[in-house]
């Protein structure tokens, strides 16, 4: 089946706007992806026909809102291949990781160890660092290979019988490398540790088969997966969630309340204190349905074809250096590069004048920048709606940046 990118692009209204007098070439998808009509329509339908609080109301709007909210949870569960009641709506991927660090973390004892990696986003380092400081734990990083992958050969020397949790990125937000999850899970299981994946950069590239991955927690963000801002997902194995205390108190997360004693609601409600982000959750459910309706064999081939075109073009620029895997094996379309004598911010600013939106800087991954001894990189992330013209505009901008500064 051929992939009709022109037809797909028409589902994204924002792609019709111009930037700096030229066509918008949106390649900052790793920071925030764009949103299709299917998502915009779902949110608008809720806001215009069913806007009410969820769960406790008995009037028609409240019933409709609750139904849409819980249907969204079911859509996310289908997207991940898991049970509905294991899916928790949060404020974002960062909030999901913090939830585990606060709640699961409270069950850990001084001397216990958490393992992460040098390529993590700060959101998968800082919560564990804070937990370690608070609870007397040790945080140990897995090293990174020269081609920007988590070095799983170091697992035997980093993971030990004090390890309680290994939390790593499913896909690096800088190098695009896909983690060797099987190796991580095997190392964790050998010592009885749990595994959490930060799926922020993986979820935008199609349904995730969590049962096959065999991990214990999974987090991702709505706004990177074609959904609204302010919504994220935490999935956890039911038995683990049931053993975890709530980390935020408020309405909806209780069984009963007296001043003498409070009991907790079962998961997922235990972890959704207060009024949840209802509209964004409904939007995320629509985004998951939208993704599940795509043919990911065709989309994946399209995305990786563009990735190859981008990497080939950068290979022709003498001063360009890729930070990450040089081939397509074991990577997704997150492409970081540096240019000799051109700062990434200057590169990104020049690209903006070509209508090209990319991200530049340390990408909230300072340990990885130190690992590669760079101040930052320029990063392009390809989504299903990107086409050859986006890549070609980026390459033209890169050549201009080199001409201007190098």
């Amino acid at each position: 089946m051929s992939f009709d990118v022109a037809s797909l692009r028409r589902q994204f209204p924002i792609l019709a706007r111009s930037v700096n007098g030229t066509v918008l070439h949106y390649l900052d998808n790793g920071a925030s992806a764009q949103t299709p009509n299917a998502v915009l329509d779902a949110v608008r339908t809720y806001e215009t026909t069913a806007r009410a609080n969820v769960l406790r109301g008995v009037h028609a709007l409240a019933e409709a809102a609750t139904e849409a909210y819980e249907n969204a949870r079911a859509d996310v569960a289908r997207f991940l291949g898991v049970a509905d009641d294991e899916v928790i709506f949060t404020g974002g991927c960062t909030a999901s990781i913090n939830l585990v660090a606060q709640s699961y973390g409270s069950l850990l004892k001084p001397g216990d160890e958490i393992v992460s990696s040098v390529l993590e986003h700060h959101s998968n380092i800082v919560p564990w660092y804070q937990l370690a400081q608070r609870a007397g734990l040790k945080l140990r990083p897995l090293p990174v290979t020269d081609d920007g992958r988590i070095d799983v050969s170091a697992l035997p020397s980093v993971v030990n019988d004090r390890t309680r949790l290994i939390s790593v990125a499913h896909v690096s937000n800088v190098t695009g490398a896909v983690a060797d999850v099987a190796a991580v899970v095997a190392a964790a299981r050998a010592v009885g540790a749990k595994v959490m994946l930060d799926g922020a950069q993986r979820a935008p590239h199609g349904p995730v088969d969590l049962p096959a991955l065999g991990v214990d927690f999974y987090a991702f963000a709505g706004h990177k997966a074609y959904g609204p801002n302010g919504i994220g997902v935490l999935w956890g194995r039911k038995a683990l969630l049931e053993a975890m205390p709530p980390f935020m108190g408020g309405g909806s997360m209780i069984g009963s309340v007296t001043f003498e004693h409070i009991t907790w609601a079962p998961p997922p409600r235990r972890f959704e204190a207060g009024t949840p982000p209802i509209g964004p959750a409904i939007g995320l459910g629509a985004a998951c349905r939208w993704m599940m309706d795509l043919d990911w064999t065709a989309v994946g081939s399209h995305e990786m074809g563009l990735t190859q075109r981008l990497m080939d073009g950068l290979a022709d620029v003498k001063s360009a250096r890729l930070i990450g895997p040089s081939g397509l094996q074991g990577r997704l379309p997150v492409v970081s590069f540096v240019l000799d004598n051109v700062h990434p911010h200057d590169t990104a600013q020049i690209l903006d004048s070509f209508g090209v939106a990319v991200r530049a800087g340390h990408h909230c991954a300072q340990p990885l920048m130190d690992r590669f001894d760079v101040a930052g990189t320029t990063r392009a992330c390809i989504a299903p709606y990107n086409d050859n013209s986006d890549v070609d505009a980026l390459l033209a901008g890169v050549r201009e940046a080199v001409r201007r500064f190098a």
Partner: protein, 136 residues
């Protein structure tokens, strides 16, 4: 458009690297990082007994705007009393906010006005020099 932002004088200032490099025996030094982008500026300054900045050195790991700003600041501060730094800071902020044209090479930063996210790139060397004069 980047042509406006990266006009010839800005690029020339950045590429000149005038005054770049650490001083061998500075009276004061300080490093300041921009936590949002990772840029890093170290400023060294040598003061005479009257508190005049007789020599400045700078080391910049940052963008062209940050490099150009360090060059322009070092040139303008040279020979001035350390208490003049506040006035220089107010002048560059006025250029960035569009309330003044700025003197000498400070005027070259006028196009940055329209790029709010880049103002900190220009200000970072001023922050580092202020920190140095305040004892690190």
């Amino acid at each position: 458009m980047s042509d406006v932002l990266y006009h010839d004088r800005i690029v020339a200032l950045a590429k000149s690297r005038a005054g770049a490099g650490r001083l061998t025996a500075p009276t004061a030094s300080a490093r300041r990082d921009n936590p949002l982008c990772g840029d890093r500026v170290t400023m060294d300054v040598r003061l005479d007994e009257q508190g005049h900045m007789t020599e400045l050195g700078h080391e910049v790991r940052g963008c062209a705007l940050c490099q150009a700003s360090a060059v322009a600041l070092a040139a303008r501060a040279q020979g001035r009393a350390k208490s003049d730094l506040d006035a220089l800071r107010r002048e560059i902020e006025a250029v960035l906010s569009g309330t003044a044209d700025g003197e000498g090479d400070f005027a070259a930063f006028a196009p940055v006005r329209a790029y709010r996210s880049r103002h900190d790139c220009v200000i970072l060397p001023f922050e580092a020099l202020k920190a140095a004069l305040n004892g690190g």
